[in-house]
Amino acid sequence: MKHGKEKAVYYGKSYLTALLFLLPLLAMFLLFFLIPFISGINMSFYHYNLADPSDTYFVGFENYKYFLFTKEIPVMIDGEPVLGADGEPLMVANNSFYSFWYSLLYTFLFALVIVPVSIFLPLLLASFLKKKPWGYRLWRSLIFIPSIFAVSATGTAFVYLFSNSEDGFINALFNTHVEWLNTPLTAWFVILLLCLYGIGANFIILSAGLENVPKSLYESSLIDGCNSWQKFLYVTLPGIKYQLSVCLFTTLIGYMNLYGQNRVLTMGGPSDFAHPERPGVTHTVIYVIQDYLTGSGKFSLMGRISAVCIVFGLFVAALSSIRLFVDRDKKGGNKHAKEYREYFAKKETHPAQ
């Protein structure tokens, strides 16, 4: 038993050691997350010009209002409205408004497709390889390896494969003239294919989950007369529900941040010819943010960009918070203990049951 000063020194040392180990992560967290995050929130309430920080002033919620609700804006040059042929200020569609909402829509729709595919395909492969077919170790590596390659590298290969011209490998192979990256559906299809290069991580997580499902449960289900589908539905799926939850939400968050694949393959295009005010049909929210940051050649939009980031961050956070609800029994920690207590209490009251 330690007492008084001795105890304080002991705990002091323990805390100091723990702090020492935590310091690198803490420093990174502060420098690259917390401070930028708070700065971003602060910046979103300002007009902030990166090229000239002295041109900074408080605008309140204007940045938010501008891209969330303002559909039309007057053409302004040097602070003066440009007049149309009728002598009235010339009004044009607000690109920021359309870019944000439509890129959010495109991102969300794509996530609706890619997330299930990115879960079920690796699950299918993991289930198959769990049976340990011939060369399963090799297959496992082959499935995982593509996910370690950089998107820029695999994307460049895809650009050659799916080139719009007749010289593209796929077009040349099948003697077709499909403009893969120039039509909305095929462009998204190629992006989806490139995204599937990244299923390796989910495959590993789900494989590990499948290995941990107790064999006794499969044996019991066999005795109960379950067929393969029923075994999958009532034994496998509940057995890997935590792994599924991890895969589901990390994949969802990952694809809400989709940028590299569409950047390399389509540069955000093709254009929506019927609606010139809308962004290219493969613009995702991150693509729009990046466009504003680097593509415009203008640097006075930092406040607005921050506002877009904050709103989008909240949207993704809201989606992620569903996981807290889904995993609540796992995080709770005493659910099973409580069930056991209730079970024994019941048994003591009604011993015949």
């Binding site: 401070i35 910046m43 440009v82 044009v92 006075s300």
Partner: protein
Amino acid sequence: MKKPSILLGIGLSFALASCTPGGVPGLTDSTEGEQPSQSEDKTDNPTSSKPDKESDLKYDQAGNPIFENVEIDFWSISIGSDGLIQKEIVDAFNEEYEGKIHVNRAERRHDEFSSAIVNTVVNDPENAPDIVQGHGERIRELQSQGIYVPLEEAIELSKIDYQRSNYFENILDDLYLEDDSGSEHLYGFPLDMHSNVIIARKDIIEKNGYEVPTNHQEFIEVCQGLADKAYAGTYQYLPTAQTNPDLEWMTSSAGTELYPWFMSIEALDDALTYAITGAVQNGSKMVDERGLPAWNTQSTIDYFEQMREYMYPSDGKRPLIRRSLSYEFISDFYKGNYIFASTGPWNLTGYKTIFDSAIGLGQGGFEEGVAIMPISNLFALDENSEDASKIVGTAHAFSLTRTVESDTVKAACMVFADYMSKQYVKWMEGGHLPMLKSAMEDPALLESDIYKNIGQYLGNPEDFTLGGVTEYYSEVFGLEMNQGLNEVWHQTFNTQTQNKSISDIVNEQYLNSLSIISDYQ
């Protein structure tokens, strides 16, 4: 709950500590307070030295500046083959000025140049370049944001012999820009001008009884004639030794579809060549006096309609242009499947080597087989129009960033820029015409192999224009962002917009450009 609260508290303390009145965390400290006064100093009276600071530049008895181990950080947009040539010139400069001035050259890609320079100048000024070589038509964008400063003071300090009249004014005038007070200053020290050229299979054209065209009407006549002959089975062509070991002339079979004119819808250089130069040659202005797009004219519409007609003819004629999304044309050009194509002059030396081996010097090689044509007059529907000979090109120019404080460094930068502008013989190997008028009369250039083989075909320097100076360059031309005139160009040929009138496309994209410009205000 305690730990998150502590973390949040620490974070808030950092954030609040870094906030400044009217400023934004972290970013204002380095520039606030000093930048406005610096900018005022330079823009209001650029030729005067600063009253509150003693100059660090010394002069010898002859009045020449003294340089001792001055280091200059130089960012260049010239990469690839240009970059290699420029590196040689910079190495020669460093050797010649050893112990006096040393230039540290770094390359920056075109698409990252603007953001890289703004980020570095604002957030990391100590590592910002002193001098940059960018594209002249883009200077206005960065000048309007206070990144570049006027050059007159530095030129004065360096004692170099700079006379405005020594340079081609059709480009140089666009490097003189107005500052906030309305006075005009030089923001880009002129280096060169350049544009794409058209290469043509001269041997095939002549074998089929035509001459290399010099204007649009002749150009279309040759294209139409060759396409018709191919379809009729009388087109004569000379494929490469790979499929034609004896290098014999062959005749097409009847029904052959020949698209004489290669045009990539996706290539930016082709958009600059055909869309922008074409519109200008037909009388359109690209920007108005406010810097807004001004290409929404009837002459642009007429020209684009005619171009669409060449690709999708409605009058029973043969199409002259195949809608190509590929950038690759050279192997089909060698085979005689394309007769005309646009290319950067910097590619010509490489093409010559390949062509000489593919067709063989026995047939005259590149010199006899290929004509290099400047793009003057080639797209003007009316050859007598005032602007028919115009070439919308780009220009390289040197600019000083606002981070340069030392007079010695400023002067050294101008000595370097002046030296570079005078290395025009070597620099022409990169396909660039000099901005210095006297260079075009210099026997050293005129008698050089590079001038005889390539330089003389690049066009008359007086025909070059930057197309218009505007701080909204990206939005007006939209070369990188599929907007502006570039998007009009795409939609003119896109199969999905084939039924949309050019007039509608032009109007839609004009409004879209205005929308983007207003959005970025």
